[in-house]
């Protein structure tokens, strides 16, 4: 039994140092797969594709071209878009914008599913897309847009820095606070 959603949101932090000796059990990978399969997509275009990378040699090859990955994750998910499907099934808006929103929602599902099961994570955008595409054997139309590293943290997270809530959230109109 995992954490409830709000508790997972409150406790999740990006992790950059993993216990390299600990692999993820199959049940975690299955849960992640279930999470992405339940993720919504605009116009129901379902143009996203996800590669779950768990084989240590393949993790190393991806990491070689992903300068934003820190530590030794036990697994990672490459969140990709099928650009041809995005255009054909979702139109120009999906091809240009909505596909990123869809991947963002799926990313949140992955992060929170992992956190709820005691697995730490870190989203990574700093990588060479073409190189990672080739390493993962992705067809030309399917491009990686985000990586999420996964594993068991071996260090406490960094101190959190957040803007005050009034700079992030307004009520009814921009700049109006709740009370």
């Amino acid at each position: 039994m995992g954490l409830d959603v709000l508790e997972a949101i409150r406790t999740r932090r990006s992790t950059r140092s993993y216990d390299s000796a600990r692999r993820l059990p199959a049940s975690i990978l299955e849960a992640l797969q279930e999470a992405v399969l339940h993720s919504p997509s605009g116009s129901n275009a379902q143009e996203s594709h996800f590669v779950i990378v768990q084989e240590p040699g393949q993790i190393r090859r991806v990491k070689r071209f992903a300068q934003g990955i820190s530590g030794n994750p036990a697994a990672m998910v490459a969140l990709c878009t099928n650009q041809r499907e995005a255009l054909e099934k979702g139109g120009i808006d999906t091809a240009e914008t909505l596909r990123f929103i869809n991947l963002g929602i799926a990313a949140a599902y992955i992060l929170l599913t992992a956190q709820s099961l005691g697995v730490s994570s870190c989203p990574v955008r700093s990588f060479h897309a073409k190189a990672v595409q080739q390493v993962l054997g992705l067809p030309e139309d399917i491009v990686p847009e985000l990586l999420i590293t996964l594993g068991y943290a071996d260090k406490p997270p960094r101190p959190k820095t957040s803007k005050p809530s009034r700079e992030v959230v307004s009520y009814d109109r921009y700049g109006k606070e709740h009370l």
């Binding site: 190393r60 070689r64 300068q67 700093s126």
Partner: protein
């Protein structure tokens, strides 16, 4: 500098060199689009990786350990607090200046004893 036994196989050393070269090139390419503060962070990480690679290949030099310790302590601030990281870089550089000056003094003494 201390030259010791390699503690990894030839194959692993080959892989580590590839890891390092790919990291430096990919990081360099990424910096064209990344925030300015990522530059110092990537360079510090490259230094850390280079030192580790040398050590695994059997080359260790403790004279830079003090400077590396300062960088490691403040690494997490590289993007969130660039000024604090810049100060850490200044401190690490100051320590390397001390090492440089001590080396120069030793060299001078060695030269004097040769002349004597």
């Amino acid at each position: 500098m201390i030259v010791t036994e390699k503690n990894i196989s030839e194959e692993e050393l080959h892989n580590r060199i590839l890891d390092f070269a790919a990291y430096v090139l990919t990081a360099a390419r990424g910096l064209y689009k990344e925030p300015q503060s990522y530059g110092p962070m990537r360079l510090a990480d490259a230094l850390e990786k280079a030192v580790q690679l040398l050590e695994d290949a059997g080359v260790r030099d403790d004279s830079i350990e003090g400077a590396l310790a300062v960088i490691r302590e403040h690494r997490w601030q590289a993007t969130s607090n660039p000024e604090a990281f810049a100060e850490a870089l200044d401190e690490a550089i100051r320590q390397l200046v001390q090492v440089t000056l001590e080396d120069a003094r030793k060299q001078e003494l060695a030269n004097e004893s040769k002349r004597a």
